[in-house]
Every structure is written in C-alpha cells, then in structure tokens.
C-alpha cells in the first residue's frame, strides 16, 4: 500500500489547484490600469495577509510562505523536495563566503526559509566548521573560500558554488527515487547549462571557463554544448534543435526575455501531466512550481505596471500557467 502514501496530500493539492491563477485571471491582471488595482484584484482572490494596505513585496513573500507551509503540512517526506531548496541553500553559502572574505556584512542578503538559514551559515563560514554543512557543501565552501582569498575573483567563486548547487540538485533528483523529481532536476541542470552557454558565448568566455561552470546532465551533452558556444549563437541554437530543448533554440533567436520565458514554460510543460496523477509526489511538485511560476508572473506584471512598461513588453515575459 506504499504507493498510496500521497493520497491525502494529492487530494488536498487538487482542492488547492482551483485557486491557482489561470490564463483568464492573468488577462484580468493585465487589464488593470495600475499596479494598485492589480494588487487589489489579487487581495480579492485571497492573496497576501491581513494588511490593510498591502505592498507588492509583502504580498508575494506571504504567498511564497503559504505555498511552502502547505507542502510542509501535506508531504509525508520533505527530503524529496531537497532539489528545490538547494538554490537557496547554496545562495546562502555564496553570500556567507563573500561576506566573510570581504568583511562587508549585509543582513538582508540571506534566505531564512532553507535548511541552513543566514545566521547559521555565517557562523559556520566564520568559524570554518564546514563539516556541519550537508552533502558536497563542505568541499565547495573550502574551495570557494580559497578561490576568493587567493584570486579575489567573485565570478570564479560564484561558478564554483553554482556548479556545486547544480550537481547537488542532480544528485538529489536521483536520490529521491521519484521519476518526476529526477526529470525536474535534470531539466533544471540542462536549462542552467544552456543559460551558461548562451551568456558565455556573448561574453566570449573560454571552453575551460564553461567546463568549470557547467554540470553534467543526462539530457544534454556538455562537451557538444561547449563546442557550439565557442562556435557562435547560431551553433548553440543548432545544437539545441537536435535535443529535447528544440523550443529553446527558437526562443533564443527571438530575444533573451523570450528565452527566459521558454525556460519557465518548459518546466511547466513537463509538470502539466502531473495534474492527472493521484498517487505520486508529482502533483505536489507541480503545485509548488506552478505557485512559484505564478508568483513570478505576478511580480513581472506588477513591476511592469508600476514602471509604466507597455503591455507588449509585459506580455512577452508572462509565463504559461499550470492550470
């Protein structure tokens, strides 16, 4: 009966999926004359807390917290979601290493809703007690500190930590034993590799640089991607045409923002079939990513309206909805 352990969680998520924003709701938001009106519309849908005059940041933060609270409530095993926590965890490591090495401290650069919150991470890095960190983090923290202290190059330190985060995500995907989590982790790594290739090509980085920044994944050949990036932007698109990321090639030719949008849409596409699952962790992951996606879309719309961007510019960046 072990395959029924997600029955309660999935049914609860099913009920919650009805309150996700659909395309019509996004159109309504787009139709609002100002960011204030859009915020009011969101408040009517239950977004944000009980604040009388909500601001964008507090509403979006509140929604993010609500989403994770639901997952913590329903998930029988939170470890399968490690893959989603790694970006925050490694961000904290990166921020702590830089803060310690440069001696400049900013209290608001950390995430607190992850396994090692900011203050704890600072204590560990300051005292160099790296063994208290999970997975490949002790080795990564040592390497990142050495790099920053010896070269003073923040970018080298970044790629060291970012690559470790990608490897940890791929490893967590495999460890989860859930096919959809593994697929999600692999796609995350592949999309990160594609982004690195695109940016490295534009900034004329070397093959060695790209090799040290990219992580291995099963859906892309890192060596071929690096060769394509060295040859040019068209070659990257050409290589992607031969892979399951062919849509990304088209988006790359359109614009950088279209490519970013495609990356998020691709993730939603692989998760959409999870709407019809009843006994697996998939619908939980689908809901979590769908919520992150809609929060990102709302942020884009509100920021665009606040800064008076034309509708076309906002629309180009709107993500595909899960429901």
């Amino acid at each position: 009966m072990s395959n029924t352990k997600y029955t309660y969680a999935v049914a609860r998520i099913r009920a919650l999926e009805t309150s996700l924003l659909d395309d019509a709701a996004v159109e309504q938001l787009m139709g609002c004359g100002s960011a204030g009106q859009a915020l009011q519309l969101l408040a009517d849908r239950g977004w944000g807390g009980s604040s009388a005059e909500p601001d964008m940041e507090s509403v979006l933060k509140c929604e993010e917290e609500k989403t994770w609270q639901v997952i913590r409530d329903v998930a029988p095993d939170m470890s399968v979601f490690d893959v989603l926590l790694y970006p925050r965890l490694y961000h904290n490591l990166k921020a702590a290493v830089k803060a310690v090495c440069t001696g400049v401290k900013h209290p608001h650069i950390f995430y607190d809703d992850c396994p090692v919150p900011g203050k704890e991470m600072m204590r560990i890095v300051e005292s160099k007690e790296f063994s208290r960190l999970p997975g490949n983090m002790p080795r990564t923290a040592r390497e990142a500190m050495d790099i920053l202290l010896h070269t003073g190059d923040g970018q080298l330190c970044d790629i060291c930590v970012d690559r470790a985060a990608l490897e940890a995500a791929a490893e967590a995907g495999k460890r989860s034993g859930e096919r959809i989590i593994e697929e999600y982790a692999d796609t995350t790594v592949a999309i990160a590799d594609i982004k690195i290739a695109v940016r490295a090509q534009k900034t004329g980085k070397s093959a060695e640089f790209m090799r040290s920044a990219m992580a291995e994944c099963s859906s892309l050949n890192v060596g071929q991607l690096i060769s394509a990036a060295l040859a040019g932007a068209d070659e990257i698109a050409q290589y992607l045409q031969e892979t399951s990321y062919a849509g990304g090639a088209e988006a790359l030719r359109t614009s950088p923002s279209a490519f970013e949008r495609w990356c998020d849409n691709r993730m939603i596409e692989i998760l959409k079939p999870q709407k019809y699952e009843t006994f697996s962790v998939g619908p939980l992951l689908g809901y979590l990513i769908a919520r992150e996606n809609e929060i990102k879309t709302v942020r884009i719309i509100l920021t665009g309206k606040k800064n008076g961007f034309p509708d076309d510019a906002i629309r180009e960046r709107i993500r595909e909805m899960y429901v």
């Binding site: 009966m1 029924t4 029955t7 309660y8 969680a9 999935v10 049914a11 609860r12 998520i13 099913r14 009920a15 919650l16 999926e17 009805t18 329903v74 009843t278 006994f279």
Partner: protein, 158 residues
Amino acid sequence: MSELGIVYALLGAAVAVLLSGTGSAIGVGIAGQAASGVVTEDPSKFAKVLIIQLLPGTQGLYGLLIGFITLSKIGVLGGGLADLSVQTGLLILAACLPIGVVGLLSAIAQGKTAAAAIGIVAKKPDQFGKAMLFPAMVETYAILALLISFLSVTGIQV
C-alpha cells in the same frame, strides 16, 4: 468425518467475510485519505466526497451477506448443526471463494478509483455524477462474484 464437513463450511463463511471485509476496509481507507484532503481545504464538499468514499464499502456487505446465508444454511444460526459430509463442506467453501477473492481485490481497486474520483469532485464539483461512475464500474465485478457465490451457496443441497 462429518465434523470436518462443518469446519469447511464455516471456513467458507469466514473467507467470504474476512477477505471482502479486509478489501473494503483498505478501499474505504484509501478513499478516506483523499476525502480528508479535500475536506481540509473545502468543507462544503463533505457530502459529495463521503458518498464516493463509501463506494468500496459494499464488498464487505456482500461478504457479510454470503457469510450470513452460509451460517443459516448449515444451521449455525437456526440452532442444530446440519450433518455435512466433507464433500458438501468443501462445496460450500468453494461457493464462498468468488465473493471473498473478488471482494478483496475489487474493493482495493475501487478505493484507488474512488480516490481519483474525489480529485474530480475537488476540482469540478458539478461533475459529481460522472465522478461517481468511475468507481461504480468496478462494483460490477463484485456484484457478479456475489451472484455466483449466492447461487452456489443456495444451490448446494444440505
């Protein structure tokens, strides 16, 4: 040897009740988890999900019915045990098997289908009728097994 006959017959009644009852308990349990999930978020759907949750419970009732008829037939309920040969006892045991085995497996399958149907009610409550039909389809096979067990038990001459 006539005592062994009554033992087999009683075993038949036990198999009918035990297996189908176990299946129903598991099935109703699975559907109940899904129902709880929906009601946690939307208590207004309580009545609809409760009806769907109860669907896998019928196999237990069918098993009970066959068990009851068997006990009545062999005189355990009416007073005065019937004098059964081993062959008749085994015939009654065989007659009870369909509802026992099919009841167990169909109730578990129905519980899973009911959990999925509860997902339909969670998202589209106006489709309740259609959602009910999917787990109800599984019921067909429990009814067929009940029919065969009933005809067999009542048809055996004691």
